[in-house]
């Protein structure tokens, strides 16, 4: 296998696509409701490079296959379910999207693998969703939005991690709902003014989750858990890990349950998708960052297809030093997702 794309944003052309999979109580809300009562942030992406939504599986498959992609993991376009005020509605939408993804994309097309979308604000419902799909060939990971009421180390989320670990499913986080619904403002100093500002600051959610999950001992309790951070870049990691570790050495009395340095948990348990990588001025800078973030085992290729306005995802990894290429393009994903990527499906 040459290339695994770990972050594809597939969409439905109309909400009607998921109506058959919704309980009757919510069907009307989705068909009739103005905006369906789905909280969103107040920013609009205005870009001359914006592409049409990826609504047709064959078209998407054709476009990715033409670039050499052998497997593509679908993360969809709805990354705010976890901050919706109505958790029953959020859980119902998650189930419906999962059914639609599986039936319309994963089952018919050998290229695609699905993510089990969950709404984490109701951990019991999220666990039920994971259990529902865990044995289904073609579903390769659990997916939840990074936008959240609380950082992910906190104990209310641990049942989700137990379920992921039990089934050997990686947990992917995806940016997008920050500042919407019941989320805190999308930066710790309040709401930004523009989509550009909002998007530029989003990886801070990952920084907070990573620090929280390590500090709270999630990986002591769930040593098999792996977490994929989608679309957040990599260049923040050296700062975050080094600051975190310096602090840990001084105040570790506060977290006696940790048996290792923070960096040991980070490089072992977290993975990072490539699109969009930060823009580096010098060619050697990417190679240098890759070394600092242990890129040979932590960075996985992604296109973010069709949202490729920030540049060609393949060109973005062109300047990768040779020793990282195979691992980034396919190797690390194959190790992480294992048989769920490789096995032929019925």
């Amino acid at each position: 296998m040459r290339i695994v794309d770990t972050d594809v944003h597939h969409s439905f052309a109309s909400w009607h696509a998921i109506v058959p999979y919704l309980p009757p109580a919510f069907q009307r809300r989705v068909i009739d409701g103005r905006g369906r009562g789905l909280a969103r942030h107040g920013f609009r992406k205005i870009s001359e490079f914006a592409a049409p939504l990826a609504t047709d599986p064959s078209t998407v498959a054709g476009a990715l296959t033409a670039r050499g992609v052998d497997r593509a993991i679908l993360n969809g376009s709805i990354h705010s379910l976890g901050v919706q005020p109505n958790m029953d509605f959020a859980a119902a939408i998650a189930r419906a999207i999962n059914c639609w993804t599986f039936e319309s994309w994963v089952r018919p097309h050998p290229l695609f693998r699905g993510s089990i979308l969950i709404a984490q604000q109701d951990p019991a419902a999220a666990v039920a969703e994971i259990e529902h799909w865990a044995a289904t060939p073609g579903m390769v990971q659990v997916l939840m939005c990074s936008a959240s009421e609380s950082p992910y180390g906190r104990r209310q989320y641990h049942p989700i991690y137990a379920a992921c670990e039990r089934h050997g499913l990686p947990l992917a986080l995806h940016l997008g709902g920050e500042g919407a619904g019941v989320s805190a403002p999308s930066t710790p100093v309040g709401h930004p003014s523009t989509y550009f500002e909002w998007y530029s600051a989003l990886p801070q959610a990952y920084m907070a989750h990573l620090t929280s999950m390590v500090s709270e001992g999630v990986f002591e309790r769930f040593p098999g858990l792996r977490v994929v951070l989608c679309e957040g870049g990599i260049a923040w990691l050296p700062h975050v890990v080094w600051r975190f570790e310096k602090n840990f050495k001084a105040v570790r009395a506060e977290t006696p349950w940790l048996s290792k340095l923070p960096s040991a948990y980070v490089w072992k348990h977290f993975r990072f998708t490539s699109y969009p990588l930060e823009e580096f001025r010098r060619e050697q800078d990417l190679g240098f960052l890759m070394r600092l973030v242990h890129g040979e085992t932590t960075v996985m290729f992604s296109t973010g297809y069709p949202d490729t306005e920030f540049g060609d995802p393949f060109a973005m990894v062109d300047s990768l030093p040779e020793r990282y290429r195979e691992a980034v393009l396919a190797g690390t994903a194959l190790t992480l997702y294992g048989g769920r990527l490789a096995v032929a499906r019925a």
Partner: protein, 372 residues
């Protein structure tokens, strides 16, 4: 001449002879009552017996202070100027120090009228007790960013004081600092050629937002590690909202929020800007083309990679030779010793960070003899 007199009259030399300028020294009040002489009587009841500031619920498992520098008389490390001269300036060969105090939290407390009076009193206390008697100590004009009109007034009240070298606000805030709400502060700061520094510590308290975009952390370990995220939020905002298009001479400093996150922010912003610039027509350049000479990062707590030399390429990416300024954070627990924390810096870069960049940040006024 007594010892005290000789200290008071220490002279500031030519920049070539300077060894270090420390941009983050936390002088302390032995008691809030020290402020009473600087306050109208109507505010005395609000100060006597404590300020009642919002307090955070995260606990540093140590004392929070440098145990080797505690003064027996008051149990503090920085309530007496001569003590600080001894324990910091002389011991570590620091020529000049910029005082940042212990009142950063005014930026997110509740009563703006009281805060205006308190901030004025605090600044007057800094001037009288620390700056005017000591040529080695430079003051910050502390302001409450939540009240920009009052902040601008305070900058204009003290902006001509020779010993005051920056405006200081909390990084904790309700809105990011690029927002036009705050621009009267920048107009005043630019008018007086004063940089605006923001300092961490009050995150998640008072009227501030949660300390992370995903809510409240559980431990001090997380809380302190997350501080750089408020800095990043402000940094993105300052660049994206066009502050430097309007105030081209403004200089802005990130104090105690880490430094090597800058390549990430600038790299992500440049990448985003190329695709999204139609939304921000007020910007005329790439985000990374605004920051040189305008944004400054103070070193403490310097990131500590297992191999210290790994810092160097990141420092190059953020043009540290023009953007990074030395800070010790005396007398706090995570003090960076200037003799040991920068071993991996090339000598020329260290020189820039310890002296020249600080002068670029504060302007020549930091070299001036300010004692009357």
């Amino acid at each position: 001449m007594t010892v005290a007199e000789s200290r008071q009259s220490r002279t500031i030399r030519d920049r070539i002879t300077l060894n270090a300028i420390d941009t983050d020294i936390h002088q302390d009040l032995a008691s809030p009552n020290e402020l009473l002489p600087f306050l109208a009587a109507e505010w005395h009841p609000s100060v006597r017996g404590g300020l009642g500031f919002a307090a955070r619920g995260w606990h540093n498992s140590g004392s929070g202070l440098m145990e080797d520098s505690i003064r027996e008389e008051d149990g503090l490390c920085a309530a007496d100027p001569d003590w600080v001269v001894d324990k910091l300036m002389d011991r570590y060969r620091i020529d000049l120090g910029i005082l940042t105090g212990t009142m950063i939290g005014v930026g997110v407390q509740h009563s703006t009228r009281f805060l205006a009076a308190l901030t004025r009193a605090y600044n007057d206390w800094v001037l009288e007790r620390w700056v005017r008697p000591y040529d080695c100590f430079k003051g910050s004009i502390l302001v409450t960013a939540q009240d920009p009109a009052e902040a601008a007034r305070e900058i204009r009240r003290l902006g001509s004081e020779a010993g005051m070298v920056q405006v200081l606000m909390s990084s904790a805030a309700r809105m990011p600092y690029g927002n036009r709400f705050y621009w009267p502060i920048y107009a005043a700061a630019q008018e007086y050629d004063l940089p605006v520094g923001i300092h961490v510590g009050a995150e998640g308290t008072g009227i501030a937002n949660p300390p992370t975009s995903v809510g409240y952390p559980s431990t001090y370990l997380e809380f302190h590690s997350d501080h750089s995220q408020t800095m990043m939020g402000h940094c993105v905002s300052m660049l994206a909202d066009g502050v430097f298009e309007e105030y081209g001479d403004l200089r802005f400093g990130f104090i105690e929020g880490g430094i090597v996150w800058a390549p990430h922010i600038l790299g992500r912003m440049d990448r985003s800007y190329r695709a999204l610039k139609a939304e921000v027509p007020w910007l005329t350049r790439l985000p990374s083309e605004y920051f040189l000479g305008r944004l400054f990062w103070s070193t403490q707590p310097i990131e500590e990679p297992p191999d210290g030399s790994d810092l160097i390429p990141l420092l190059e990416m953020m043009h540290a030779d023009r953007t990074v300024i030395f800070a010790s954070d005396y007398p706090h627990w995570d003090f960076d010793n200037p003799h040991t924390a920068f071993r991996h810096f090339p000598p020329e870069l260290k020189r820039r960070v310890f002296v020249d960049n600080v002068i670029d940040y504060c302007g020549e006024r930091v070299l001036r003899h300010h004692r009357p």
